[in-house]
Each structure stands twice: as C-alpha cells, then as structure tokens.
Amino acid sequence: MVAANPEIPLTRPLASPSIMTRLHGLVVTVDHKKLGLMYIASALSFLVVAGLQASAIRLQLAIPNNNLLDPDTFNRLFTVHGTAMVFFVGMPIVAGLGNYLVPLMIGARDMAFPRLNAFGFWMFLFGGILLYFSYIGAPGLSGHGSAPDVGWFAYAPLTGRAFSRGNSTDYWTLSLLVSGIGSLASSVNVIATAFGMRSPGMTLMRMPLFVWMMVVVSAMMFIAIPPLTAAQVMLLIDRFLGGNFFNTQSGGSAVLWQHFFWIFGHPEVYVLMIPGFACASEIIPVFSRKPMFGYSAMVGATTMIAFVSMGVWAHHMFSVMSSVGNTFFMISTMAISVPTGIKIFNWLATLYGGKIRFELPMLCCLAFLFQFLIAGLTGIMLAAVPFDWHLTDSYFVVAHFHYVLIGGMLFCIFGAIYYWYPKATGRMLNKKLGLAHVALFFIGFHLTFDTMHLPGLLGMPRRIYTYDAGRGWEILNLITSIGVIFQIAGIACLALNIITSLRKGEKAGDDPWDAWTLEWATTSPPPEYNFETVPAVRSARPLWDLKHPEDPDWKYE
C-alpha cells in the first residue's frame, strides 16, 4: 500500500503549516494544479487496491482446482477490479493529467471554472469510495449481498431485483452515476478552457497535441457518458420503482442494456486510450529532438478516431446480433485501425532520423509503441465476426483489452509520470529505481499478458473461478500468475521512487528535458498563478522559438 499516498507536496511550504491546515487547504482548493495532483494521487491509490484485487484473482487461478477463494468472492473481485480500473483509475488519471497540464500548456492561469473543477474531483472521489464501501454497506438492512458481483458491464437480467438481492448492484450503479457526473464536469471544463483561454497567438493548430487530444477526449465524453448515466437511471428505476426497462418478464429487453452500456463502453476505450496517445505525442518528439511528424494528420486522425469510435459499440455483442448488424460493426471496427495506424506511423516517422535520448519517459513510450501495435492486431482479429464467435468471453479477449489498457495506456501514463514529475515537484525521479520499475513491469506485463492469450485460444472462458486439470491450461495460467509478481515489484519501485524523490530527488530546474511547450517556461513547481505574464505564442513550439531565435519554427508556418 505504499503508493496509496504519494505525498506530492500539494501546498507551498510557507512557514510549514500544520497538518490540519494543509488538509483543509486540500479540501477547499480550486487550484487546477492541486486538483490535478489530487486526481492522480487518488487514482494511483485506487490502482494499488484494484491491482491487489487482480493479484488475488491470479493467485486463485495459478493452479487448477484451487479453493483459495470461493466463487462469490471471486465474482466480487473481478467486478470491483474492472469497475475500479476503468472508472477510478483510468478516468481520474486522464482528468488529473488534463487538469494539471491543459492550462499550463495553453498559458492560462487556471481552468475556466475552478469551482466546477473541484466539484468534479470530489464527485469522482466519493464515487470511488462508494464502490469500495459496498463491501461493508451493501448488506444493509436486508443482510443480502456484499460488493457488486455482476461483472463490470453488469448485464441484465443479473442486475434485476430477483437475481441481485440486497444493495450491491445499487452501490455499483450509484458510484458510476456519481463519478460520471464528475467526469462530465471536468470534460466541460477542459473544452471551455482550451477553446476560451488560450494565450495570445496560440491558434488551434498551434495547440500542443496533448491539448488537442484532451479536447477530443472531452468531446467524446459528452457523447459517451450520458448514455451510461441514462442507463444507470433506468436501472435504478427498475430496481427501486419496479420499472420494466430490462425486465424480460414484462417484455423488457436484456439486449437493450447491452447496447446502452456499450454505446458508452466502446468510446470509453478511446477516452482512456487517447490521453495515452496524448502523452506519447508530447514525449516522443522531445526525446527524438524533432518536431512531431504530421501534426495536422495527428489532429485529423484523433478526430476521426473520435467519430468512428461512436459507431463500433456492438462489436462487443457479435454473439447476440443479426448478420447485417454484425457486418456493419465488423467493418466500422476495422475502419478505426486506419486513423490508429496513421498515428503509429507518425510516431515512427518522428523517431526516424531523430537523435533519440533513451531517458525513462522515452523507454515507456517505445514499449508502448510496439505493445499497442500488438494490441491493435489482436483487436483486428477479434473484429472478424467468425473469429470473435469462437473467442468471445474467453481469456483471449481479456488478454487483448489488458494489452490495450496496460501495454498501451498505462505505459504512456508511466512515461507521463517520469516526464512531468519534475515539473510538478521540482525534483527528478531516481533513474536507477525508474529503470528497475520499467524493466520489472515490462517483464511482468509480457509474462502475464502474452501468455494469457493462449488459454483463451485453448478455450478457457473468462470469469470462471477455477478449472480442472488436464485441459492444457495449467502451465499457461501458472506463468500468467508468476508475471504478476514482477508487476507488483515494478509498481513497488515506482511508488518508492515517487515518495523518496520528493525530498531526495535531484533538483530539476525549470526545463530538465529541453522541451518546447509552455509548461516548461515557468518554474518547477509552477506558482499558483502559473505565469507572471501571459506568454505569447508564434508557433507550435514556443520554447523552441525562444531558444533558437536564429531558426524559429514560425518562419516555416
């Protein structure tokens, strides 16, 4: 639990205020930088808890016929693990990075609506607490139920009153409803800030790609999250008012829930993934010492992903749909690999001929590049309907989406932590510990998730709490579980690094990476007002122009 409280100094050390004053400061703050760090710190705490839950799942599955966990506990573990990782780790990290960086990158003093921003954070935090409180609170007066056990997409009719007694499903519903409102608040803020508060000269096509992608992600949330909210309201109506939306006995449709959930659920994958792309698009150019290749193609590809991702949701439902529907969603799903491919080639072209510096942020992004490629390839495999019919609800699918979210997104987030930690704290992260973290996590990730594809191909269904010996799954599951040990060791190194470097880290200075975007023009950590004067911008790399007056970018625009 070391990472549960990475004590990033959230207040400025004036005359070392008492702990109560500092806590009070956190509760009442509306500063985008403090809120951003609070988002990230809370998300990392949830990452540790939900990660430990995944470790328990892998411990149970390490050997056949294991009775370490009973089936009910196992169901709760994978439900809460999945829900927490998506809504209380992925989303807040996205919101946290966006909050911290968007105003700094566009030369603004704060977000457009600071109080709305604080509201969003607290909604997220209490949503997350609500989910975990279900372990204690869900039995309630009826004495039935514990944490939710319906899977992270909570298919009807499992969530009906008859099949889910007590309040476990209600906790799941309410925690998502609450945190969804928080996410919407923060996404409205990002749009209003990025369009309405850019510093003079920063036209849209001079915005850093990070800001562009956060804008696209926020716009996607406008379309993606309300369907989830609506579906949750319908589920609450069903459960508390006796409504019939998903009650098949009164003619309701269980498949309708699947549609509503995945209309949210698939854009959500890109809502989580594009911020990863956003970090990579800042890090890769700086460590290749070249401007981003194909800036406008990158913007276009991101927007195209946003549009296409709204029309692919039913590829999660190939086994419940007609051939016509399946064909449409197969084609749209495959089409989305076009803009994604454009991005990968742009990153590669940025690397090509560059003077690459193999610093920690860059190592994470290089790992991301090829891991995300593999994740994309298994994605195309699953987009083919007949292949998907064979493998749906198997461990192949589990391996695929963990490859996307860990191999893709999480590695970018690691890169972002190494890249921006000096800006947020004024100290560098320790390089040796960092290398240990990246190496251990890299090994663990590949042991676990490369191997996990195979039992899926051999027919192992997901969500089973144990399996018989003699199916050829034993050794593969054991290797998968062993990988977890490396991942835990890696995360422990990261947590130790984050905490110890706060005081002992090498002083970073304002611009340790010789970077080009505006956040590096102010002090590390930035003062509360961010910039003394509002900076002016003449190209997409304002600090390059400043450092190289003999050959500024704006000459070529």
């Binding site: 609506f113 409205v188 209003a192 369009f195 003079p200 999250i225 369907p227 109506i237 023009a521 102010t522």
Partner: protein, 199 residues
C-alpha cells in the same frame, strides 16, 4: 528561469479574441443533455407496442395541445425578455420574464393533471407495463428539466426585483435562455414520439 515575458515576441496579434468560456460550457451541457435524452427517446421508441398488459397509449393518452402551446410560446417570451434587457427596459424585462415563468408553470400544472388522471383514473404507474415505465421516465425527465429551468427563471426574477442584476449579467441571462430553448426543443421531440408516433 526563462521568464515568460521574453516570450512576448513582436508579431503577436494585436487583436486576440476567444470564444466565451461560458457559452462553450452551456453549449457542452446542451450536447450532454441531448445525448442523455436520445437514450431515453430510443428506449421509448424501442418499446412502442411491446407492453404485455394495458393500459395502452392509444387508450389513455390525450394530446396536450394547450401545454405545448404554452411551452413553445415561452421560448418567444424569453426572447422578448432578452430584447427588453438589451434595450435596458427594466419593466419590459420583468413583464416578459414573468410571462415566461407563468407559461412554464402552466405547462407543469397540465403535466401534473395528466399524471394524476393516468395514475388515479387509469391505474397506470411506472411499474404497470413498458408503456408506463418509458412514458413516466421520458416525460418525467423532461418535466424535471422544466422544473430546473423554472427555478432558475424565478431566481432571476427575484434578483431583478431586488435590482441586483447589472448589464454585465446579460450573458448569464442569455445562457439561461439557451437552456430554456433547449428544453423547449426537447419537448418537440418528446411530443412527437409520445403523442404522435407512440399512439
């Protein structure tokens, strides 16, 4: 440290205008609300004619002509109020603004009477059948937006009567009218789906 003012290079644009954050936020809110209403409308349309037991919409629903006229008219009156605000005619603003509130209240009153008739007279509740579930959810979601709007409208009237609205609040008033127009536009969809197509 690279001081930020060194970035102020000569050829920065003299005129630098940006869209208003407030307008962006309300436009975003309207997109979000549209997405949410869409899902409820889809559910309504999907379940038309799928109720296993009565009462069915053709038996119990009357077309709410009067309330529809009131709500649509309130879009015009709020526009008149805005115009009066721009002319700085305080009396005109208060008159048109109060008319808007009155029309919204009439709409809600008629909806309440309709619900009472359905619940007491026809024993149609939210749990009776799919029609009840989808009808009360969709119409209720819209009505709850009218209630929010009515509350905000009343608040503005109170501020106006206390003379605490300044010229600078014009954009706030405009944003409220955007929201109000949106609520009206949603009613057009709800009306079409529930009272025309669904019957």
């Amino acid at each position: 440290m690279i001081t930020a003012d060194r970035l102020s290079l000569p050829s920065t644009p003299a005129e630098w205008t940006l869209p208003s954050s407030r307008k962006l936020a309300i436009a975003s809110l309207i997109v979000i609300e549209t997405a949410m209403f869409t899902i409820f409308v889809v559910a309504y349309v999907f379940y038309i004619g799928k109720s296993l037991v009565g009462p069915y919409p053709s038996e119990v629903l009357d077309t709410p002509i009067l309330s529809t006229i009131c709500l649509l008219a309130s879009s015009l009156t709020i526009m008149m109020a805005e115009r009066a605000f721009k002319r700085e005619s305080v009396g005109g603003f208060r008159l048109w603004w109060s008319t808007t509130i009155l029309l919204a209240a009439i709409f809600l009153g008629i909806t309440a009477a309709e619900w009472k008739r359905l619940i007491v007279g026809h024993h149609l509740t939210i749990s009776t059948n799919l029609f009840g579930t989808t009808f009360y959810s969709l119409v209720g979601l819209h009505a709850s937006h009218v209630i929010v709007g009515l509350t905000l409208l009343t608040l503005v009237l109170v501020f106006s009567l206390k003379n605490s609205i300044r010229r600078a609040d014009g954009e706030r008033i405009e944003m409220l009218s955007w929201y109000w127009h949106f609520v009206d536009a949603v009613w057009v969809v709800v009306f079409t789906v529930v009272y025309v197509v669904g019957r």
